[in-house]
């Protein structure tokens, strides 16, 4: 059930430049959380910065622990990175529609950069449900590959890609994934990452007729479906564009329903 509470900071670890792992004590949210859902975090004690920041749930443990992993992008996340153990953070969640979680299937999880954040939680729950998980993880270089030890310990089949070739395959993670699609005959694909990578993922899953889901990101205000600020463009059955809330209609969407055109074109519709 949706909670609105003060969560205590258990620890905040800097994992890399501008990337932080935040462990919170939030049993009610941790118990209810499904992979792909997010929490809406108040990142200020004043009204500046004003809005909450939507952060994907990175992990939810059995000791009431809720883990977030985020990159400092602006003043809100910069404030969050300064919070120390013992301090309380106001959070709202779990929010949104998460990933479909099948049982005893073979799944492909494709993460681009910080898109790894919700997919680690999905991998954990997918493995618990008896699925086999191929985890494709691509970043700019090896320095940006976070949580490798955790992923390895979870016993996913891990496939790495970097733009500069400093770890794993050199090139986009979707190119690496493409090579495995025919032989691995997946039952379902999942992706999170930059929009361009998601578009490539959606093209490939369409080509191989693979049911596929993507987690999208938009600037967000209420997080509850009231303000209609965080919409994304989807295609209806007739191929016509309409706008759906990312906060309540998503953030996870069927990849085949997302309109992947660029924003300039949207202006002209």
């Amino acid at each position: 059930m949706l909670q609105y509470l003060e969560a205590e900071v258990l620890a905040s670890h800097q994992l890399g430049q501008d990337v932080y792992l935040l462990r919170l004590h939030a049993p009610l949210i941790a118990e209810a959380a499904q992979p792909g859902q997010f929490v809406h975090v108040r990142c200020s004690e004043t009204f500046d910065p004003l809005l909450r920041r939507p952060l994907s749930i990175h992990d939810a443990g059995n000791k009431g622990e809720l883990t977030l992993l985020y990159q400092v992008k602006g003043r809100g996340t910069a404030w969050l990175a300064l919070q120390q153990p013992g301090q309380k953070i106001n959070i709202l969640g779990p929010l949104g529609r998460g990933f479909t979680l099948p049982q005893n299937k073979r799944l492909a999880l494709v993460a681009g950069g910080m898109g790894m954040v919700p997919l680690l939680f999905l991998a954990r729950r997918a493995l618990e449900a008896g699925n086999e998980v191929d985890f494709f993880y691509g970043t700019r270089d090896r320095e940006q590959l976070y949580q490798l030890e955790t992923l390895k310990a979870m016993q996913v089949n891990l496939f790495l890609a970097t733009d500069d070739g400093s770890a794993g395959f050199q090139g986009p993670v979707t190119k690496l994934w493409e090579k495995y699609i025919p032989e691995r005959s997946y039952d379902r694909g999942y992706a999170c990452g930059p929009r361009q990578a998601l578009a490539a993922f959606a093209r490939l899953s369409g080509k191989f007729s693979l049911p596929a889901e993507v987690s999208l990101e938009e600037r967000m205000a209420c997080g509850l479906g009231a303000c209609r600020g965080c919409v994304t463009a989807l295609l209806d059955a007739q191929g016509k564009i309409y706008y759906e809330n990312v906060c309540t209609g998503g953030p996870v969407f069927d990849a085949a329903t997302v309109y992947w055109g660029d924003q300039v074109k949207w202006n002209k519709l």
């Binding site: 004003l50 938009e218 600037r219 009231a226 303000c227 600020g229 919409v231 706008y243 924003q263």
Partner: protein, 311 residues
């Protein structure tokens, strides 16, 4: 020490355009969805009134994303009145809203005078609606909206047409993006407005310097939040002195203190908008804070605050 005499409960109720509000705090249209989104957090029965998102005659798809950009102490939005339209509102939203006791205020916007007339007619036939709020101030739509709100004669015509087609009290919501907001306020008062709500958002923009593109796909948006409060307060103070009908004040109200400032400036009631997006319980905290303030000040009735500013 045991308290034997209970402090007299303060009166928070106000009268407004023939409506009785149990307290002067209501949500601002567009920030509260159709109420149900906030039901998990607050008891909607405790609101002064229920104000729903603006509805249009036909479904409105809204503007392309991105629709939001935060600014210092503020929020720019270009939602563009996205709503499912009158039919869906009547069929799917109204039955839910009717179960609540506070007066239901339905915000409407038309692209033409005929659309305002039809919306007024149809909503007046429906059960459970206490008043209409005429939105002539949305900065984010190309047709209608703000076009009707910036010229006094046009604002008066829309007001008169809605009045002709309804028995319900008519509240007109004004834009601050005008030379003299009191001229518009007087025009809609003369045309029969039962109350005046202000301010809607201030027009603004933001630029992404990496992409060298507007931060909003719509280029222009409406600014809300604490950043606009002084502007809103001044507009409310001026309009409250210029008209006889009650004023509903809004614009950046985040706390009970903010709400009290608007009451002192002459608002008979206030609306809370952006604050709810940040804190879903904001309205309840403001109602409680207002009650505490009255008790602390030794006042028994919130109406003693309205327009009590000493200059």
């Amino acid at each position: 020490m045991e308290q034997t005499v209970k402090a007299p409960k303060v009166n928070l109720a106000v009268q407004l355009a023939g409506l009785t509000l149990q307290n002067p705090i209501m949500p601002a249209s567009g920030t509260f969805g159709f109420g149900e989104e906030y039901a998990p957090f607050i008891d909607l029965n405790r609101l002064g009134a229920l104000v729903v998102k603006t509805i249009t005659l036909h479904p409105t798809p809204g503007n392309p994303p991105p629709r939001l950009m935060e600014s210092y102490c503020g929020l720019l939005n270009s939602v563009g009145l996205q709503n499912p339209g009158l039919e869906v509102f009547l069929r799917e939203k109204l039955p839910y809203l009717r179960q609540y006791r506070p007066p239901l205020i339905v915000s409407i916007a038309g692209r033409t005078m005929e659309e305002y007339a039809e919306l007024a007619t149809r909503l007046s036939e429906a059960k459970g609606i206490a008043a209409l709020e005429v939105n002539i101030s949305c900065p984010n739509v190309k047709e209608g909206g703000i076009v009707f709100g910036t010229v006094p004669a046009m604002a008066a015509r829309v007001t008169a047409i809605v009045k002709e087609h309804t028995h319900l009290p008519v509240i007109v919501k004004l834009t601050p993006n005008v030379t003299d907001i009191t001229a518009i306020a007087r025009a809609v008062e003369d045309a029969g407005a039962g109350a005046i709500a202000l301010i809607n958002t201030l027009q603004g923009m933001a630029i992404d310097i990496e992409k060298r593109r507007p931060a909003l796909a719509n280029i222009v948006g409406g600014l809300s939040g604490p950043a606009i409060k002084p502007v809103a307060l001044y507009a409310v103070w001026r309009v409250a002195r210029a008209v006889k009908v009650p004023v509903i004040g809004m614009g950046g109200i985040m706390t009970a203190r903010d709400a009290i400032e608007f009451l002192l400036a002459g608002a008979s009631a206030v609306a809370v908008g952006t604050a709810t997006l940040v804190n879903p319980g904001a309205i309840m905290e403001i109602i409680a804070g207002l009650e505490n303030y009255l008790t602390e000040q030794g006042l028994e009735d919130v109406r003693e605050l309205i327009g009590a500013l000493q200059t």
